[in-house]
Amino acid sequence: MFAAHWRPPILVLKGEKQVPEKISITLTLNGKPVAADVEPRVSLVDFLRYHVGLTGTHVGCEHGVCGACTVLLDGETVRSCLLFAVQVNGMDVQTIESLATEDGLHPLQQAFQKHHALQCGFCTPGMLLAAKELLERNPSPNEDEIRAGISGNLCMCTGYVNIVRAVQAVAQSGSSQVGKSS
């Protein structure tokens, strides 16, 4: 899926110090253009958190297992800990910060509060984006489909029961299309 944009990271070593060259990238981040010079080894999540200052995307494992770092890349969920920032050059990235609008919280965010689908809140950003993608692909999933749809995201607090309920509630209300990315 990144083939069209992907450039292999170029590591240039300068003698003993091993200072890698920075690479210029531009991307669309939450609807706005962003240009930056980044070391090729910087992961997308580190770029978002520490270079751009968007700390809503969390780091849970750095191994691509837990899903806390989920973002939308050209509209599809990806693990931002498994991508380098230079790989998203020219692409569209949406983070949790894009989910609520000036009109208010996304229906999924509202449902998560109503159904007590978050406790510590650390998995919530990734979980919300996974649920959003699920409902965009399948607006009326059954319980098994919801469980499969969010099974790439670990939650250590809730036992998933109320997360499933919240997603079900949004599916049943048919409001999942609100805030859908183009």
């Binding site: 809503g56 509060q113 109503k114 406790q119 809140g121 099974s151 809730t158």
Partner: protein, 805 residues
């Protein structure tokens, strides 16, 4: 939302924590940064046990982006060794970096502070450490054998502590028994693994000697004390700020990391940040203790249990933070829900070359509950009784509360037979039995499991005296709270209840809103703890299910004090007697005199603006500080009886599993919990705690396991090897509840955060064993995995037990 009736308590109020978390503005530790901040990285031990023969950090120190490099020798020179939470007679010398020897894989050996995290991690490659590997010991039973490798030479042996506590007429019970039944159970290492790893930032101000730490803890007073003692910094100079945590579950109590960061910040002369990565977290933050439990039961032929003897060999790993605690806390649920008049407990706390243990959701109680519940099933099988009938025969009856157990616990309230009845109804037991009979005819392995348990809430830290003796300073249990009513009539509660997802801020706002007749959204409970603003006692924190009876009591105490101030001021202002006043909806009015009243905001304004007023209580302002100590939390008596824990919720768990007869895949088809935590402050939050804890217990029984090889290498250092449950692995948790209020807590509440994790492993084991009845296999160990089940079946074994070594 408005309180229906008169009270906020009892309502499923939407959480006040959620708005920030939903838009991911949670302000977790890694979201915080300080100007000039540098980053730490640790070089960790690749060996389970080795002498450090040479450390060369010269190339690292010469790196232009490095601020400081520290070794174990530096730390031993600059700090005092740590003490265990329970003072031990022979305490090993534990420093924040390995000193002279490494004791477990992943133990920090060298710390580097550099300009950014990537550089700090790069620089680790420039450090040379030479080791002389030593034989390692992983199994606690082997560690106490003569000739075993000694983990800490200064302790002489690997036995940190060993003692036996007989309670009641234990020999008499065995003399009267019709049968004596013996079994061995083991539990493995696992961990709740909060999704957010451990982290901290330390800042040292050389001009004033002031140290500020932003970081993780669940016991801020004790960790601050540990930092002060280790570095020799006066406590008054140490400010400790605990931001909201992305889960904690008992794991985030590792003062060694706060000590080393403080030291690094002092040496580097700039703020130093460290965020643990997941591999470090699984390798070396802390595990629950594994243990080996031998149980002997004295029973009558009618199924009555007269007495039980326990001998537990607990693997503490190579650390002291929690040494002894798993053992002692098991005295709280040693008879579980049953009328067992005599028990004895023999415990070993054993050092090995495994990761040090920490508290983990229920600490110790999951293994005790598992052992008792498995034993009850074993007794039923031996006597050819039904598992439900034997429980009914032995359950403590509703009219026996408050019930004193042999080890000195006072069970406050409960109705265990009703919990059992409701649980069987929840799972449609009769229909299930027909379904099972049909399944068995078809050759399918369908099983029903049952486990019951008490859920202790709040620990009495005097229990440490069972190890350290009556001179131990730390005792009892309590919490501190301060309430300030602002000039606009809103109020802020400062309390030691740290934020880690349990909804304490919302629950406390409900409680205070009731006491002060305000709205929930008028009560602010900061989710960041700060010693500069928050009062505390040494037991302060978020652990041992203490919230229900201690944080609540402290908040209520402070609220009542400030309410009294309010009413006295109102009486003066309105020229009325206090007993004629009524506080309602943010207003104080005089009963029977409509129109005569004053708002809380008006009184609060005068309290801070109008310092020329005469104050009825001799001081302006509108604040109250309250220190609560639980009167039930006494020291051990001469028979070593002590209320190890202070409130007892209860629950019955029921499970239906199907085991694939070819692959031995275990499918959890249905799971139900009926619990009784007394009065519920916020039923939605309570339900969430039951779900989360139960799923953790289920996963501990079926998926999660830290696996060491014989040389002490941990084989499970990512979530690809250490399996956490996903939404697709488990069914929805069916629930029902019962409410028997505790007579000993201000609101009638009991604990609710841990019970699921305590009881679920027994229910799962019971269900799998029932499914395997056609194959005749007894389950005595965890976790239960398809591979090992297949091994047992293919070797025609009858016991799913610990691997023979």
């Amino acid at each position: 939302m408005k309180a229906t009736g008169d009270k906020w308590v009892g309502q499923a109020v939407p959480r006040t924590e959620d708005p920030a978390l939903l838009v991911s503005r949670g302000q977790f530790i890694d979201d915080l940064n300080l100007p000039g901040q540098a980053y730490a990285a640790f070089l960790r031990s690749p060996h389970a046990h080795a002498k450090i023969t040479r450390v060369d950090v010269s190339r690292a120190q010469a790196h232009p982006s490095v601020f400081t490099v520290m070794t174990g020798d530096d730390v031993a020179r600059l700090t005092r060794p740590q003490r265990g939470r329970v003072p031990l007679q022979y305490s090993p010398k534990v420093y924040a970096l390995a000193y002279e020897k490494v004791h477990y894989v992943g133990e920090p050996v060298v710390a580097v502070v550099a300009i950014d995290r990537a550089t700090a991690e790069d620089v680790l490659e420039l450090i040379e450490v030479e080791y002389e590997p030593l034989p390692a010991v992983i199994n606690p039973e082997k560690a106490i054998e003569p000739g075993a490798p000694t983990v800490f030479e200064e302790v002489k042996s690997n036995t940190l502590w060993h003692d036996t506590f007989p309670y009641g007429d234990i020999e008499g019970a065995f003399a009267q028994a019709d049968q004596v039944i013996q079994e061995r159970f083991t539990i493995h290492r696992y961990c709740s693994t909060a999704l957010e790893t451990f982290g901290a930032i330390a800042q040292f101000e050389p001009a004033t000697g002031a140290l500020t730490i932003w970081g993780h803890t669940q016991q801020p007073s004790q960790d601050r004390q540990a930092v002060a003692a280790s570095l020799g910094i006066p406590l008054s100079k140490i400010r400790f700020i605990v931001p909201p945590m992305g889960g904690a579950f008992g794991n985030k109590v590792r003062p060694m990391f706060l000590i080393i960061l403080a030291l690094l910040a002092r040496e580097a002369k700039r703020p130093v940040k460290w965020i643990e990565d997941r591999r470090e977290n699984l390798l070396a933050l802390g595990h629950s203790a594994d243990g080996i439990m031998d149980v002997t039961a004295a029973v009558k032929s009618d199924g009555s249990i007269l007495g039980m003897k326990f001998r537990n060999i607990e693997n503490e790993g190579a650390g002291i933070d929690f040494a002894g605690r798993h053992n002692l806390l098991m005295l709280s649920n040693i008879v579980n829900c049953y009328r067992i008049a005599a028990v004895s407990y023999e415990g070993y706390s054993v050092l090995t070359n495994c990761c040090p243990v920490v508290a983990n959701r229920g600490i110790g109680k999951p293994f005790m509950c598992f052992s008792v519940e498995r034993m009850v099933d074993v007794i039923a099988a031996t006597l050819k009784m039904d598992r439900i009938e034997i429980r009914k025969r032995n359950l403590i009856q509703p009219d026996q509360f408050p019930y004193d157990t042999p080890s000195g616990q006072t069970y406050d309230s409960g109705d265990y037979p009703e919990l059992l009845r409701k649980a069987l109804a929840l799972i449609d037991y009769k229909e299930l039995m027909q379904e099972q009979a049909k399944a068995r005819k078809e050759g399918r392995l369908l099983g029903f499991g049952l486990a019951m348990g008490v859920e202790p809430g709040g620990s009495n830290l005097s229990y440490g005296m069972l190890i350290s003796g009556p001179t131990q300073l730390l005792s009892g249990q309590g919490e501190a709270a301060r309430i300030r009513i602002e000039t606009d009539g809103t109020a802020t509660l400062y309390i030691g209840s740290l934020e880690a997802g349990q909804g304490h801020a919302t629950s406390l706002a409900q409680i205070v809103a009731d006491e002060l007749a305000l709205e929930v959204d008028q009560i602010n409970v900061p989710t960041t703890f700060d010693t500069a603003s928050h009062p505390s006692v040494m037991t302060t924190g978020n652990y041992s299910n203490k919230f229900n009876g201690h944080d609540t009591a402290a908040a209520i105490g402070a609220a009542k004090k400030v309410r009294e101030k309010l009413l006295n001021r109102a009486a003066q202002h309105l020229e009325a007697a206090v007993q004629d006043l009524e506080l309602r909806d943010g207003k104080i009015s005089v009963r029977g005199t409509p129109g005569k009243g004053v708002t809380v905001a008006q009184l609060a304004s005068r309290a801070y603006w109008s310092l020329a007023d005469n104050q009825p209580d001799d001081e302006p302002g509108l604040e109250a500080l309250y220190y609560y100590q639980n009167p039930m939390a006494k020291k051990p008596d001469e028979q070593n009886r002590v209320r190890v824990q202070l409130g007892f919720a209860g629950a019955a768990h029921v499970a239906v599993v199907e085991v694939d007869p070819e692959t031995f895949e275990i499918k959890l088809k249905r799971y139900g919990v009926v619990h009784d935590c007394g009065r519920q402050i916020n039923p939605a939050i309570v339900e969430g705690q039951v779900h989360g804890a139960s799923v953790h217990g289920i996963a501990a029984a079926l998926l999660e396991e830290f696996v060491y090889d014989e040389s002490g290498q941990l084989m499970t250092t990512s979530f690809m090897d250490y399996l956490k449950p996903t939404a697709a692995d488990i069914p929805t948790i069916l629930g029902d509840h019962l409410e028997t209020p505790s007579p000993f807590t201000p609101l009638g509440t009991k604990g609710v955060g841990e019970g699921g994790a305590v009881i679920a492993p027994g229910a799962i084991a019971s269900a799998v064993e029932d499914a395997l009845v056609p194959l005749g296999i007894r389950i005595t160990t965890l976790p239960i995995t398809p591979t090992r089940l297949w091994d047992v079946v293919s070797s025609k074994g009858t016991r799913y037990g610990p691997k023979a070594e």
